[in-house]
Symmetry: C2
Subunit: 213 residues, 2 copies
Amino acid sequence: MTTDGGSGPHGPAERPKRRGRPARTAEATGPGARERILEAARTEFAERGYDKTSIRGIAKRAAVDAALVHHYFGTKDEVFAAAIEVSFEPALVIPAVLAGGTDGLGERLARYFIGVWENPATRAPLLAIMRSALTHEAAAKVLRGFVLRRLLERVAETLDVPDPTFRAELAASHMIGIAMLRYVIKAEPLASAEPEKIVAMVAPTLQRYLTQA
Amino acid sequence: MTTDGGSGPHGPAERPKRRGRPARTAEATGPGARERILEAARTEFAERGYDKTSIRGIAKRAAVDAALVHHYFGTKDEVFAAAIEVSFEPALVIPAVLAGGTDGLGERLARYFIGVWENPATRAPLLAIMRSALTHEAAAKVLRGFVLRRLLERVAETLDVPDPTFRAELAASHMIGIAMLRYVIKAEPLASAEPEKIVAMVAPTLQRYLTQA
């Protein structure tokens, strides 16, 4: 089973396009198609939840053929994983967070996670993901795979502590729980607290988990 | 709006019972009725979720009249709050946890929360509560009220730190997040870790939030 959400090197987007065809065809297979599919997937999962989202619905929203969704991402679970990934942008952000070394790592990670949640464009799909994981084992399984492979292992492999994955999971659990209380349950004063106030309190916790043996 | 889920002093359970009536009547209004209703409510909310649970369904499962459920608990939201409360037993446990003073407070709280989650009888309803809170604003509102009033404020009022409720919420968020990753997403190695291993790592975090200015 492949879990790589990346587009193949020989996808339809790379096929030579004939001139003069209706614009809709270029839209349907053009270089923006993969991004449009991901955006549509995020919206569909956010609005409809894991269970009710279909490849066909995603294709329709992205104005592409369902076969193109399959082509780029594979199964529904793989689209789901890719939609999670695009919210976190781990390929872009995690290396930057880790590149600074262990000094201030907790603070950079706390700020990164709060930033992802504070951004309305990424918050809605993340809430949908949490909702789906709580209600559908298939979604929990994708999240488990994604969380472990893409985020936690990536952080864990740079740590010089015993049980690095366990430590990374404790750090992640804290950020997930803050998201639950702040954005879902909306418990005050946490729900209205300034992001930097949360970062200031949480950073030492993450720092201890990730760097102190 | 009353949010006290306790039975009134003049509830049917306290009415003098006539001897010789059919057993079902004693069951339906006897001293065990309140506990049976709560147990039924926990099971209904756990199995069916917030949205699909009704006073009538709870009454049926508890083999009592729906009016008795209303009598003891009021609205569906109030039954929901009482069902949450019975899982945490805050009236019994929180004073005991707090009575020891600030020394080891983080460790006692961590052990208490992990214990509640490790117990299958309380875990299922708690998962249902989290599920409901993520999918229904009404359930989130009850949880917000309950979490704030019954648990967090109770802890917060004993703390000698700035922003005690904010601190208590940060502590609670960590325990909620651990529950998500350990019991719902089942991320390893956290999902299989010994409870005491988690307590040992998390206790200093809670201790810092709750006691260090």
